[in-house]
Amino acid sequence: MQEKEVLYMKAVELENIVKTYSAKKSTVVAVNDVSFSVNEGEVFGLIGPDGAGKTSIFRILTTLLLADKGIANVLGYDVVKEWKTIRSIVGYMPGKFSLYQDLTVEENLEFFATIFNTTIQENYDLVADIYKQLEPFKTRRAGKLSGGMKQKLALSCALIHKPKILFLDEPTTGVDPVSRKEFWEMLKRLKTMGISIVVSTSYMDEAKLCDRIALMQNGQIMKIDRPQTIVDEFGKNLYAVNSANMFRLLTDLRAYPQTESCFAFGDKHHLTMKEDNPKMLNDYLTNAGHNDFNISKIEPGIEDCFMQLMKI
C-alpha cells in the first residue's frame, strides 16, 4: 500500500505550520510546527481534545486564518496566494453552527448553492441521502432545528457546490451515539464519491473509522498513521480487569507496585504492567480480597494509545 501512495495527488499538505495567538499578557501556541499530508480520496482524522489545535488547522486550510510560519497547500493550491481558488473547491463545516438561524432549511441550502454559482437541483444527488431526512422540515427556520438536524443541514450546505475536499470540524461533538453512527455512515458514502475528507473529533472511538489519523495534543502531533498501525505499535500487553467492586478495584490496581498505567474504561479497567505477569496480579488481587475478578488480555483501542502517548 505504501508505495502506491505516490500515485495520488496530495489533497492537503502542511509543512511546519505555526500559529500563535496573543492576548494582553500571554501568548498561546495553538499550532506548534505541524506537518502532515492527506492523500486524495482519503478520510483523514485529526483526533484530540479541545485546545489541541484542530480548529486553527482547519481555519488555515480553508484560508480563513493566516499561519505565522510554514506552508500549506490544498489540492496543490497555496493557502495564501491562491485562497480564492481554494474557497471555491472546498466544503467547510465549522465546529460552531454557522448557518443563518432565521432562514429556513431550504433557504439556507439555496443560499449556499447560489453563492457558489450553482443550484440545489444540479448537485442534488450528492446531498440527496442527507437532505431527504430534512425535507419534511424544509420550511422550518434553521435556528429551530435540533442538534442532529442542524448538523445534517450544515453538511448539506458544505456539499451543495460539489467540493473536491471536505473539512469537517468536530461534526459529532454533543451528538448522541446513534446520530454519530449515522453521520459516519454518510461520510463513508461521500468517500466512495471521490471526495477527500479531513475531519476532527474528540471522540476517540471514531478514530478507527478514518483511513489515517493524527493524534494531537497542545498544538502538536503525537503520532500519524493508520489506526490499526497505531494500535499495533502500542508495544505493551494490555489487560482488562473487572471485579464486583470496580471502585475499590481501581484503587487497588493503582496501588499495585507493578502497575504502569491504569485507567477506568467503562465496565473494565485497562492496565499495563512493568513486569508483565498476570499470575502475580492474580495473586495480588486475591490477597486484596477480590474474589469475583477477571483478568483478560485485550487489543488496545485508540483511546489507550492516546493516553499512553500523552504521558510521555
Binding site: 481534545p49 446513534v178 453512527k181 495534543q217
Partner: protein, 247 residues
C-alpha cells in the same frame, strides 16, 4: 447505605403547544447515587432537567427535588442543588478566585466560608499559581474540574451535570469521574448526562429517554443483561434507534 430519596417525579410532563417534549416520566433517585440520564438528541433530556432544577414549569405531573416541590418551591430547590454544563459553567473573563467568590456568594456562603473553602479548593486542584488568572486562559479540562468543584462548594444535596466532559481529553475525563465518585461517596447525589457510553457504565443507575419517555431504567449491569448486550453503547443504540420523532 440509606435509602433516602432525593428526586422523585410522578408523570412529569412538559408540553410546548401540541408538542409533548417530556411525556409522563416517573422515577426516583436515591441519596448518594450517580444517576445517568441518557437519551438521544431531542429526546427531552434538557427539558426534563430544566424542570428538575426549577427553571421551567411543568405542564402536568409532580416532582420533588431535595424535598421541594418543582411548582412552588423553585427558589429552595436552587439553593439545595449545584449545576454545571458544558456550554456554560464559569465566567471566562473573571479570574479563578473571582469566579469562586461570585458563585459561592450566590449560593449563600459567608465571606469567611468563601475564603477558607475557596483556598482549600484551589489547593486541592493545584491551581495556586493560577488563581489570579482569568478562567478563559485555562485548558478546558481544568475549567471543567474547577466548575464542578465550584458547583459543589456549598455542599448541595444534588449536583446536576449536563454533558460535563464533552471535548475533554481522555485522561482529564477520567480524573473528572474520580471527582464525581468522591462527591457521591461524600453523600452528594450526582445527576449526569453524557454522550460517552463508557461513562454510562460508571453510573449506579441509568435511565434512557426516547421520544420524551423513559424507556429503560436500571443499573448498567442489569440493562446489559435485560437487552442481551455487551456494552451500554449497544443498549443505547438498540433503544434510541426506535425513536420516531424527528428530533
Amino acid at each position: 447505605m440509606t435509602n433516602e430519596i432525593v428526586i422523585k417525579t410522578d408523570k412529569l410532563t412538559k408540553k410546548f403547544g401540541d408538542f409533548t417534549a417530556v411525556n409522563e416520566i416517573s422515577f426516583e433517585v436515591n441519596k448518594g447515587e450517580i444517576f445517568g440520564f441518557l437519551g438521544a438528541n431531542g429526546a427531552g433530556k434538557t427539558t426534563a432537567m430544566k424542570m428538575l432544577i426549577g427553571i421551567s414549569k411543568p405542564s402536568s405531573g409532580s416532582a420533588e427535588v431535595a424535598g421541594f416541590d418543582v411548582y412552588k418551591q423553585t427558589e429552595q430547590i436552587k439553593k439545595n442543588i449545584g449545576y454545571m454544563s458544558q456550554r456554560f459553567s464559569l465566567y471566562e473573563d473573571l479570574t479563578i478566585k473571582e469566579n469562586i467568590q461570585l458563585f459561592a456568594g450566590i449560593y449563600g456562603l459567608t465571606d469567611k466560608e468563601i475564603e477558607s473553602k475557596g483556598e482549600a479548593l484551589i489547593t486541592k486542584l493545584n491551581l495556586q499559581n493560577e488563581s489570579n488568572k482569568v478562567v478563559g486562559q485555562l485548558p478546558l479540562g481544568w475549567k471543567q474540574k474547577l466548575a464542578f468543584s465550584i458547583a459543589i462548594l456549598h455542599r448541595p444535596k444534588i449536583v446536576f451535570l449536563d454533558e460535563p466532559t464533552g471535548g475533554v481529553d481522555p485522561v482529564t475525563r477520567r480524573q473528572f469521574w474520580d471527582m464525581i465518585y468522591e462527591a457521591a461517596d461524600g453523600g452528594i447525589t450526582v445527576f449526569v448526562t453524557t454522550h460517552y457510553m463508557d461513562e454510562a457504565e460508571y453510573c449506579s443507575r441509568v435511565s434512557i429517554m426516547v421520544d420524551g419517555v423513559i424507556t429503560a431504567l436500571d443499573s448498567p449491569a442489569n440493562l446489559k443483561k435485560q437487552y442481551v448486550a455487551g456494552s451500554m453503547e449497544e443498549v443505547f443504540i438498540m433503544l434510541a434507534r426506535k425513536a420516531k420523532r424527528g428530533e
